[in-house]
Amino acid sequence: MSLLRVTDMTHFFGGLRAVYRYNLTLAPGEIRGLIGPNGAGKTTIFNLITGIHTPSRGTVALEGRNIVGLRPHEIATRGLGRTFQNMLLWRHMTVLEHVRMAHYAQLQYGLFGAFFGSPRRYAEEERVEANSLRLLRIFDVERYARQIVTSLPYGAQRRVEMARAMATRPKVLFLDEPTAGMTPEELTQMIGIIRKIHQEFQVAILLIEHRLKFVMELCQRIQTLVFGEVIAEGTPEEIKNNPEVIEAYLGKEEVA
């Protein structure tokens, strides 16, 4: 059974057709890439599936259940996590607080327990703290745990964002340009980390990326989006040799 299935998803912003008849079937544990020139609608697809916008037409089902029309926090609670292109971190909070905060939906204690320090609350917080530190270790940012997130090197901030997304225990993880602005060393490390979380958590990943090398290396299948439409879909090898894909990318470079 597919974990995430998007069927004929179409979206208009006013008169602008942002996404047209987008289809996606993501199997458990699959890593898939979404590439395309700037403005092709890649991030819009993320926003439509995660509930920030509601698609004009089409269906989205997570584990067989419809999620169109649910609010973002409900979709997130059902197992869809994501990171952002511009890395929305909470600038004055520490690294550890970011990851702890991401456990919000897993905490059960009530207002009364919070104020009077019920044993349940302490047990829960202890578990959250342990799990947070474990995640920070996986993402190689444990040594920054008590630091304010903005004091970290850029690549480490990206990894904190990803650790935060993983702390919500997603079944499907959307990564929006996870290597944007990274140095080649950080990029290589990121490939290792994505492989690792993929193995360890069995999470399905859909990633938007501009660096083709990165996508080719990680993804089993790749979709190419131009003007909101998928023009090509296939294995990295097929995509690399597809004339339409080459044209779309060359076309973009001509403009630039």
Binding site: I52, P72, H73, A105, F115, T168
Partner: protein, 309 residues
């Protein structure tokens, strides 16, 4: 100026600072999370005070009918807790009816709506309770202590102690609980926080509820010291506390509390040097001068809305 005189005025300043700080916290919390100055807040303070009046009167009548004499401090504690609880619903209602439909609207629309709801609360009160001023029942007897020549009433001690305890409770709530952490995160963005499974439509009303409950506590403490209530009592105190919230740095909880106390000190100490009719003129000139040099307040930063402590 003798030391006794100085200490006497410090105590008065702490009392006034407690009122301002408790109200200013509500402005700051709402601002940091929703980027919105809740101009209804002064009138929520007024409403909370009247709710406190109702609760205190009710409790007195109830205990009288049952033939038991409750100690004053217990009556006061019950009044504060019940009134805080009830007033929090006023805040939730204001958020739900007034501000939530305008969440994506220009901030000016929300500000105007807030002002109008405030006027509705004032005149709603006037319509229901009439034009006469009401007296807050004297639930605790005034006891004056003479400590080395400084006169301190038990009420002043209660006012400052309750205000400080509530601020400490708020601090712990924001730092230690999951909702507090969600509030701090929400002061940065509305986009990521829901992805953590947080409903904004839970946290936003919760923020209003806490701010309103603190205002109600401030109102009851105020009524202990100045027991004559009128429907427009929230206007001046509300605006002054709003100034304190700005002076503290928009969105800063610690700043709002400190600035509230600073305001109390300026207002109490200015009339010692100048004629008392000059009090607010000079006090607020001083604040304007501070803001000229620190336009973002004590703990604010340019474009910052963070809920910090």
């Amino acid at each position: 100026m003798s030391l006794e005189f100085l200490l006497q005025n410090v105590i008065n300043a702490l009392q006034w600072g407690s009122f301002y700080a408790l109200i200013a916290l509500g402005y700051s919390m709402v601002y940091s999370i929703l980027m919105l100055f809740n101009f209804t807040h002064g009138d929520i303070f007024m409403t909370g005070t009247y709710i406190g009046l109702g609760v205190a009167t009710g409790l007195l009548a109830l205990s009288g009918a049952m033939g038991i004499v409750l100690p004053g401090w217990l009556l006061l504690a019950m009044t504060i807790v019940i009134a805080m609880f009830l007033t929090s619903f006023v805040g939730v209602a204001v958020e739900r009816v007034g501000y939530r439909p305008l969440r994506d609207a220009p901030r000016a629309s929300a500000a105007i709506t807030g002002l109008m709801i405030g006027i509705m609360l004032e005149y709603g009160n006037l319509a229901i309770l009439g034009t006469q001023r009401l007296l807050f029942p004297p639930i605790i007897e005034t006891v004056t202590y003479n400590i080395f020549g400084v006169f301190v009433t038990n009420k002043k001690i209660v006012i400052v102690a309750v205000a400080l305890s509530l601020m400490l409770a708020l601090h712990l709530f924001i730092q230690k609980t999951r909702w507090g952490m969600a509030m701090r995160a929400m002061s940065f963005d509305f986009q990521v926080v829901p992805l953590m499974g947080v409903s904004i439509n839970l946290i936003a009303p919760m923020t209003f509820a806490i701010g309103s409950a603190l205002a109600a506590a401030g109102g009851i403490l105020y009524a202990l010291a100045y027991p004559v209530l009128d429907p427009f009592m929230g206007i001046l105190l509300g605006w002054k506390s709003f100034v304190a919230a700005i002076l503290g740095g928009r969105g800063s909880i610690l700043g709002a509390a400190l600035a509230g106390f600073l305001l109390g000190f300026i207002e109490v100490f200015v009339p010692i040097v100048f004629p008392s009719t000059f009090r607010d003129l000079i006090a607020y000139s001083i604040i304007l001068l501070i803001l000229t040099f620190r336009p973002y307040g004590f703990f604010g930063q340019a474009h910052s809305t963070q809920l910090r402590l």
